[in-house]
């Protein structure tokens, strides 16, 4: 028998060590994530299990009154509506703009686009949200105040700040999506007698549609999750946002506003955790949505490969 065959070599030991490192790192990450999920979940349901708030009321009522412990009136409906409204408005404003910029970068003028516009959008991507909020506060609010009267704070201000914030997100993802369409498709379309416009609409946009949708979903997720910048310009009043200039509050802005002002294990604190839980569920949904869109388009392609 050859004894060497059973001896562990240096390489095998290295391999084992490497594997150990990777698995322990993975375990740490996994434990942290699970712990966080458990923490948010257990704290988040305390509102309903300990403080006996009706779950249905929490989803459908619009008051946020945690002071009267005898008769608390607590509901996240107005917050959810405001979150949805500001997000929707922001995405509606930004998506066409982002698409135009992306098309400009990829098709119309790759030179100027690639050297100036794209680095610019990537720069915008890295600016912290507090700066966007600050810009909104000092430039946008006075402008809205002069233009429409009132305080200027409110849903519209928040939506516009969000629109600016997600512009680089959607643009850079849209650029990636458009660049993902093989050049050969464009060449073939031109050689069949297409105009540039037809190539853009019927080849580029059509083929990259699923990835463009994912870009928009990521924009939605970022807008929905943004707290600080929104809080700075929205006026922070829990009420249904009936007009564009109504001061309101979103799920996230309410969280940031009240975070420092509650005592642990009180209703006021637990209610905030419930908001956090709600946000967690929402972002999970956005992620699943993006995955679903991608999986569907990929499976379509792999079937056809």
């Amino acid at each position: 028998m050859n004894k060497q065959l059973f001896n562990s070599s240096k390489e095998i030991r290295q391999d084992k060590l490497g594997r150990l490192l990777v698995y322990s790192a993975l375990t740490v990450v996994l434990v942290l994530a699970l712990a966080m999920l458990y923490f948010i979940f257990s704290k988040g349901i305390a509102t309903f299990t300990q403080n006996h708030i009706n779950f249905w009321d929490f989803l459908t009522r619009s008051n946020w009154n945690t002071d009267n412990l005898q008769k608390p009136d607590l509901g996240a409906w107005a917050l959810m509506v405001t979150s949805a409204e500001t997000t929707l408005l922001a995405v509606l404003v930004t998506t066409p703009l982002a698409l135009v910029i992306a098309i400009y970068i990829v098709v119309m003028s790759p030179k100027i686009g690639g050297r100036i516009v794209q680095p610019l959008t990537e720069l915008l991507l890295g600016i912290p949200s507090v700066v966007y909020g600050f810009v909104g506060l000092t430039l946008l609010i006075p402008f809205l105040r002069n233009w429409a009267g009132g305080t200027g704070f409110g849903v519209l201000a928040a939506s516009l700040v969000l629109a600016l914030m997600i512009l680089p997100t959607i643009t850079s993802l849209a650029v990636e999506a458009l660049n993902g369409v093989p050049q050969s498709y464009q060449t073939f379309a031109y050689s069949l007698g297409c105009t540039k416009w037809q190539v853009i609409v019927h080849v580029l946009l059509k083929i990259s549609a699923p990835n463009l949708l994912v870009a928009v979903i990521f924009g939605v997720a970022r807008a929905f999750g943004e707290a600080l910048a929104v809080q700075m310009v929205i006026g922070n009043t829990v009420q249904l946002p009936l007009g564009l200039f109504t001061p309101a509050a979103t799920l996230t802005s309410k969280l940031t506003t009240d975070m420092g002002n509650t005592i642990d294990d009180t209703l006021a604190s637990n209610a905030l955790w419930s908001l956090a839980l709600l946000l967690l569920v929402m972002s999970l949904i956005f992620n699943l949505l993006a995955k679903l869109v991608l999986r569907r388009s990929q499976s379509r392609e792999s079937i056809s490969r």
Binding site: P182, S184, Y185, T187, F188, A189, Y190, S191, L192, G193, C194, T195, Q198, H202, V203, K206, I207, R300, E301, I303, S304, R305
Partner: protein, 256 residues
Amino acid sequence: MANKQQQTEITTRHVNVYYGAKQALFDVNLAFPKYQLTALIGPSGCGKSTFLRCLNRGNDLLGHTRVSGEFQFEGRDIYDQAVNVMQLRSQVGMVYQQPTPFPFSIFDNVSFSQRMSGEKNPHKLAAIVEKSLRQAAIWDEVKDNLQQSALALSGGQQQRVCLASVLAANPKVILLDEPTSALDPVATAKVEETLQQLKANYTIIMVTHNMQQASRISDQVAFFLDGKLIEFNATKKIFLHPQEQMTSDYLNGKFG
């Protein structure tokens, strides 16, 4: 009245092409007879694709190219300011080396050019799709799956679907850049057979690296070397009695 066989479809004179500062074609003069198949041969990098791209103004898309010379097509200069480039490209269709069908259904691929020029009538589109697929000799293989993605087809089938897409645009001239280099012998034979049938109604110009292929299906052969046209003659003459030493060297595998 001139005999159908002797009319020329495209005449080029003094063609020079530059990529930036680099000259890729030098004073090329060629005339392509109507309803014949002309093969362009020559070693890699000698400018065959470049020349082919001149004929449908494909070089315009590359940006840094400059083309000079005369290109007569149906009594007009292809590079005339007044020429509608989209119209020209649908009349001078191009099939590429790698099959490039869009990731759409076979039907949407073949009907693409007609839909882009505004045809909406589904019956007319269906008729054009069928006719083009038949011409490209792939109708029988795909007629039951027209809604299937074109990418699900084999390479040879994809290449013939691309050919059908080009035919659906109603071209007069078909340019092919090494259309069979990615195909196996069976698929190649199919494409060759198709081309021979198409010759009755179309003028065909084809780049090929396959000398047997050139001798099998072409009527004329143009031999390029380092951006210059070395010899242009009937296929038989080129292969049996080349006039130039370089041509016979190339055909005998001495270089390239």
